[in-house]
Structures are given as C-alpha cells and as structure tokens.
Symmetry: C2
Subunit: 473 residues, 2 copies
C-alpha cells in the first residue's frame, strides 16, 4: 500500500474529528489486548477497517500511524500493518479472572495511595501519620545524622544489620517464636519478604491457599507469581479446618499464606486448637505456611503463633514496622529455617541487592527509644476506643461487625439489606471517601455484602454522612 | 525399625564425638542437594549407613533424628527415613550451569558484602564510605528530622515523591533523555528496577541479551527469572554489532540489558554509531533495551545514551544513587514509555507495596544540597587520579588494562602469562583480599584471564603484595 497516495487522497478529512481516530486506536488496542489480534498478526486493511468502523480511510491511516509510533503495531513496506512481535507486557489484571476495577485486588491500594489529603480513607490499611511515634522517629533521625560514615553510605550485610536482628530475635521469643539472629533476614518490607519467599518456594501454576477473606494484596502478589490461588472460608478462630483439609486433598497447595493474630481484614485471632490442626495437616501434606505477623504490636494479649508451635520447621514468620512505627522507612523481616537462609540470601542479592543500613538503623533506634513501649501502649488504648466509637456509629447505619476484634484497627462489617459494597464504595469515592469493599478481599467473590473499616481512619463525621448517602439511606 | 531399641543398645556411644554426627548430617545434606537422594527417596538403613561412614549406629540415629527435626528428612514408623516430600526450594546455583563457586555470579557480591573491615576489597563494586558525601547526608538527615509527620510516617505515592521525580526529569534531560515526571517511577534500588522490568517484560524461557563481559548481578538476576541468557562480545565502543545482529536472528531475545556509559566491568563507553545501529536492530527485531545508567554522575563528558536517541520508545532508562551518593538509603528509578507506567505501578504495589518517602526525601535533600555538585567534581578528580595510580601499580605486576576508561571506578585488566583469575582470587581471599575474577562477568566463560579492579578500593599497598603472591610472582 502506498501510504503517501492515501494521505493525498484523503487530505481533506485530515482536520476531521480526533475522537474518531482515538476510537479506531482504542478498537485496535482492545483487539490486541483480548488476543483477537495475536502478536505478529496482520491488521485489517485500511479500506476494510474504515468500512467496518464507519470512518474515512484517512482516520484509519492516522490511527495506524499513531499506533505504529507507539510501537504497538508495525508497518511493513508494501504489505500493511502487523501487531508488534513483542507480546504485550505483563498485565496483572489479565492474569486473573476479569473483574470490575472496583473489586480488583489492587483497587483499595491504589485509591489509598494515590488520593490526596482531600480524601477521607476509612478503607485504608494503615494508621494516620499523627498516630505514629513521631518524636521517636525525629530523635532516631537526629541520632543517624551522627552515625559513622559506613552507616550513612554503605550497603548492609546480606542478612541485614545484626543488632536489629538480635533485637527481633528477643522480641519474637516474647511471642514464643524461637529464631536465632542468623535465621532472620531483613527485607525492604513485609510485602518484599512474602514476594521473596514466593519466588523461593513456588513455581508458576503451583496452588497457594489463602483465607477467604484475606488481605487483598496477597491476591495481587500471588497473581504476579501466576499461582493458582485457592481460598478457604475463614471463621472467627481461623480457617475452617475441614474445608482446609479438603482443599489440601484437592489442590495439593505448596503454600498457605495467612495472618495468625489480628487477621486482615477480619481482626480475628487463630485459636490454639485450630493452630494445632493446621500444623498437623501441613505436616501430612508437605505444606509450608507463611505467617505474616505485621500487626503483632497491636495485640493486647499475645495470640498463638503458628511459628511458635512449629519451631520454624514448616512455618516461615514475617513481620515489618510499617503499621506500628513508620511506613516511610522501609524495613521488614523473614524468620525461617536455617537451611533456607543461604538460598534466600542469593535470591535477595540477585533481585534487590543488599539493603541499606539506614532504615534498619532507624528502626533499631526507635525500638530502643525509651518512649516506644509507651507509644504502643497508648496506641492500643486509642485503637480500642476508636473501635468502640466506630462500631457504634456504623451500628446506627445498620452496618454490623462480623466479630468484635480483641485489638487492632480493622472492623469487618456486613452492610444492611443485602447492599452491594462495590457500588457503595464507588458512590462514596465520588464524595472523596475511599472505602474497602468486601470482594477485594475475597477470592471466591463471596464477600460482596461486607466492608472493612479502619477505625483509626474513621473519626470524621463526614464519612458516616457519605456512607449513609451511598447506601441510599 | 524400633528406634528405642537402637537407642538402648548404643547408649554407651551417646556421649561420643559430636563431630561424627555433624559429618554424617553433612553427608546426607550433600546427597540430597546433589540429588543423589531425590525428594521422597528412602535413606540408607541405619546399620548400612553406619558401616559406610565408619561410625556407630547411634551416631547415624542421632544424625537422622536431627535431620528429621530440621524437616529435611522424615521418619515413617516401621519403615525408616525418607527425604522430605517437599521439592527443594529454588536454588539459583542449580538454575544455571554448575559452576565453581569462585566463578558463580554471586561470588563477588557475597564476598564484598559479608566480609568485614579486616578485608581489602579491590574487587568490590562501590566506593568506600569515606568517598561518599557524608556532610550532605548528615545535613539531609537533620532536615528530615524536622520534616512533617507524613514524610516520617506515611507511604509515598506509587510513583514516588513528586519533587524528586521532577528533579530527575531535569537531570535526565541534561543527558538528552526526555522523561516527564509521570514517566518516572521510583524504586528501592537500581536492582529492584531491573527486576520489576524483567517481571513486566519477560516470561521464563525468554531469551535476554547481555554484554560479555557484563555486571555479574545481571547474570544472577536473569537466572532468578529463568531467562535464557545470551551474551554478545563487548568492544571498546559497545557490543559487537554484527554478532549482536546474529544473536537477534538466532535467539529472538525480548530484552537487552546493558550500561551505555561507563560500562561495568570494562569502563567502556558506547559510541554514537554503535548506539544508532543497536536501535535500528531493536526496531527491526522488536527488542526492548534496559539501559542501566547508575554510573552517570561519574562521567566527565556525557556519553551517548540509547534512551536519548530513542526517546523512551524501545529503551527503558534506569538509575540509582547507590554508587555516587549512598548505598545505605535505598533509592532507584525507572524512566519508561507512558503506556507502561500503569502496569508497572500495579506490579510494584503487588510485589513491594509503596515505597516510603524517607529515602526519597533524603536523596532529594542531598541532590539539592549546595555541596553535592562540588562533591561530584572532586570525586571525579579523585577517581581519575586513582585510575592512574592503580593502573601504574598493576602494570608493574604485568597486569594490563583492556582500555583506559574515560572515567568511573573500574579497570578491566588482563593477567599476565595466561594466569587463571579464579585461582588467583581464591588464593588472595585466603589473605583477606576480595578480588573480582573475570569469569563472574562472562556468560561465555571466556574472561578467565581478566580481573576487574575498583580503583577507589585499590590504594592499600598490601593488595599488590598479596596479588603478586597469588599470581606466583
């Protein structure tokens, strides 16, 4: 095809509607995304596509030219246009079942992270900055400014700063988890810890068990690993053991990813009897358990930990400081069986190199600061008060908690009258309120009538006005 | 087998040598690691293994018991011991061809990171802390201690701190790379940036091109992604273009991962003509290029950047501050085509969640500190002096540079008399000197006679004494 000739022929139309060009481009994009046009496939001729779309040939020419400039399609002289040889980059939303973006597991994260202070965020998963130990952080930073030059400039050793690992070892033993400092590896975050362990332990296509409901980012992360995500209904004392056993028989999962204490989103706590049964099943079926314990510091009385019963044999214990100390200075950790540490170090170096000592030094400084324990004590009280206030205000709207958690920041609530949470969340978003609709937490999509509230982010009365309106009350 | 009976029979030996138990355990571990005992396989009977190893039965019993407690093997009542059913976790060293650990791509990283200050590290890939802008870092930390509470406590937005992205956009344009702030995403490090892009752009089994030699961690990282790593010989002006074209035809790689300016390990700089040819080939074969530009600030005169010629169409530009500012405060970045940013954000949140603002604020503070430019100017001079001194001292030992780089910290040198660098490095390590033998950088294992020296880490005269001895001089 002689492009110049076409351009000349249809020149008169070139000033025409940009919208048509965009529509044609969008149509091609969708065909490629939906694999109706596979990589390398020939696009419809300009004449034919113009007829199909009911637009002029020059519109199609311009659309094809612009798509070619973007690299999505390629022109071959005398032959036409072809879909780029490169297959499309990974799209997480294409790896899972196609979901409405409002119940996509990434929705709440992105709304919480991307909206500014003009938004209220009862759906967000962390504390407001004003609830964090600001004074200790400032003292920690001033102390760092006087640290020796290697703390300021150098890489940390692969396992991370030893004095912090020693402190973590002592803290874990308070929860009954026995982990020597050389079984602890620092990471950039709890999420990076889980990601590293998934890389270490699973292959694409492996089955992984999660709770239903579970933290939505577990779903997003496992999707990035191309795991087959299998969910087990969660009860107020942990996963339903009979259904857990059935899932093990049917899917033979490699991993189970959970929170034992202050489960996200329900706030529930594993009971000792469920813990014991899970570990027996894990033993029987060769299952590894990743226990994500990032809410540990919120607890009033320590709940059972799988890693404590198991002694880090089949259980890997994970933590971070993003929820109780600071999300700004990134630091998480893995406690694992000793014979896995070498392999985890190799994998950490290859994919993230060594961490820096700076955030670890800062976390160490804050944890050792005399005021940290006091801060945590008052935080627990403040959360407990907010829990009572939030549940009372929600009750007035007919929104009722599934259980009343012992501690922590989450209330998992049922909406009244069979209302769909996704729709409510979308209407509230239009009023600058970010909510967390139940199905973002549910692999089985069975939590459409639920919503997670963060009691620390739910003080503003405008939330309840907007929620009532979004629920049509 | 009745374990109790065995225990009783051999009770007298139980106080015996722990070393023997350890030796037996080690032998089993090696058999399992080497797949002589596959997952699920039955271990030799206690009697037989005791004979093989020349130890008492009770020693084997204790070794098996301890391995069972570790979960490596399992006891089945009345039947004996079996290798754990769980397949082994990912071992990077098993994914690639089996190499001597001294030329394994992780060797230099681990030696550099794990050895303490009693080691001299001319093989290490970064500057000594005393060469870094310590004063600016301290001022930056003191300023952070006065920042508002959200900078101290909160997550950063998914793309990362906007003022830093704006500054990076301006800095990149000085190198001719046009990237708007919304095309720039901050990451925890340059390595994490490359890792994220590999997840985004390649599937296991995809071919990826690297230079030969190239930065050894490219090899380790691509191995973690199970890429087919294909290398192209590197010349003083970039990769050999004819062989590059041949590799494209033969392997149809999805990605090419390189440094354009101050190439690691050679210190070479891409020429404009090679850049132009590479981009034409990339266009023709649908290749994406990851240009890792972490040494940019060392340059005296700006070299051509692929991302500048290409306009971030087929090229993704990557940077970090670990080499020129601080490795302790982690911060890297990706500049990519706009239509990839959404997908990269989803992937970053799923696998690492949001970054914190703290390290980004610190980097921003230091870059804006009035002394940073001056620091960089004096750093360049200091490196240039060290380059001259190091090459003179190496020349005295018959160790000759492949080229004399225009700037930076690396000297890629040939050893005299066909000496094997791996052996020299191992002998030097015994003298507390970490060297970087050539084949850790070489996919084709054709750099056995080369070694990379970091001129900033090569001032101590003991290095040359030990090197001479290790070379048998």
């Amino acid at each position: 095809m002689d492009m110049t000739a076409v351009h000349m022929d249809e020149q008169a139309d070139f000033a025409g509607d940009r919208r048509l060009v965009t529509r044609v481009m969008e149509s091609v994009r969708q065909k490629i995304a939906g694999r109706m046009l596979a990589p390398g496939a020939k696009l419809p001729s300009i004449r034919r596509f113009a007829e199909t779309m009911g637009v002029s040939k020059s519109t199609v020419v311009e659309a094809y030219d612009r798509l070619a400039a973007e690299g999505l399609i390629q022109s071959r002289r005398g032959s036409g246009f072809y879909v780029g040889g490169r297959t499309a980059p990974l799209s997480l939303s294409e790896l899972g079942p196609r979901l409405d973006r409002a119940i996509d597991p990434l929705w709440v994260s992105r709304q919480s992270l991307e909206t500014d202070d003009s938004f209220l965020k009862p759906g967000c998963g962390w504390l407001p900055p004003s609830w964090m130990p600001e004074g200790a952080m400032r003292r920690g930073l001033r102390a760092l400014a006087r640290a020796d030059d290697s703390a300021l400039a150098d890489y940390a050793p692969p396992l991370g700063l030893l004095p912090l690992r020693q402190l973590l070892s002592r803290r874990m033993s308070e929860h009954g988890v026995e982990a020597a400092p050389d079984q602890i590896m620092l990471t950039e975050s709890g999420t990076q810890a889980i990601d590293l362990l998934c890389r270490f332990l699973i292959e694409p296509g492996d089955a992984v068990l999660v709770d239903d409901p579970c933290y939505f980012n577990f779903r997003a992360l496992l999707r990035a690993h191309r795991a087959e995500v299998v969910s087990v209904p969660f009860t107020p004392t942990g996963p339903d053991v009979a259904l857990f056993a059935a899932a093990l028989t049917e899917h033979r999962p490699r991993l189970y990813l959970t929170n034992s204490a202050l489960h996200n989103p329900t706030g529930a706590t594993l009971s000792p009897v469920t813990a014991h049964r899970l570990l027996k099943l894990a033993e029987q079926y060769g299952l590894t358990i990743l226990e994500d314990d990032i809410f540990a510091d919120f607890e009033l009385e320590p709940a059972p930990r799988l890693a404590a019963f198991d002694g880090l044999n089949r259980v890997v214990h994970i933590g971070s400081f993003s929820k109780t100390l600071s999300a700004a200075g990134r630091c998480g950790f893995i406690a694992a069986r000793r014979d896995w540490i070498e392999g985890l170090i190799d994998l950490k170096i290859s994919t993230a190199f060594a961490g820096g000592a700076l955030s670890a030094e800062l976390v160490l400084g804050v944890l050792k600061d005399g005021t940290y324990r006091k801060h945590i004590d008052s935080l627990r009280e403040r959360l407990s008060r907010a829990m009572g206030e939030t549940s009372a205000r929600l009750a007035a709207l007919g929104v009722t908690p599934w259980i009343l958690p012992r501690a922590g920041m989450f209330l998992w609530c049922r909406l009244p009258d069979g209302l769909e949470a996704a729709g409510v969340a979308q209407r509230a978003l239009a009023e600058n309120i970010v909510l967390a609709p139940g199905n973002v937490f549910s692999v089985s999509q069975s939590a459409g009538g639920f919503m997670r509230f963060n009691v620390a982010q739910s003080a503003d009365p405008r939330i309840y006005t907007a929620l009532a309106a979004a629920m049509g009350r």
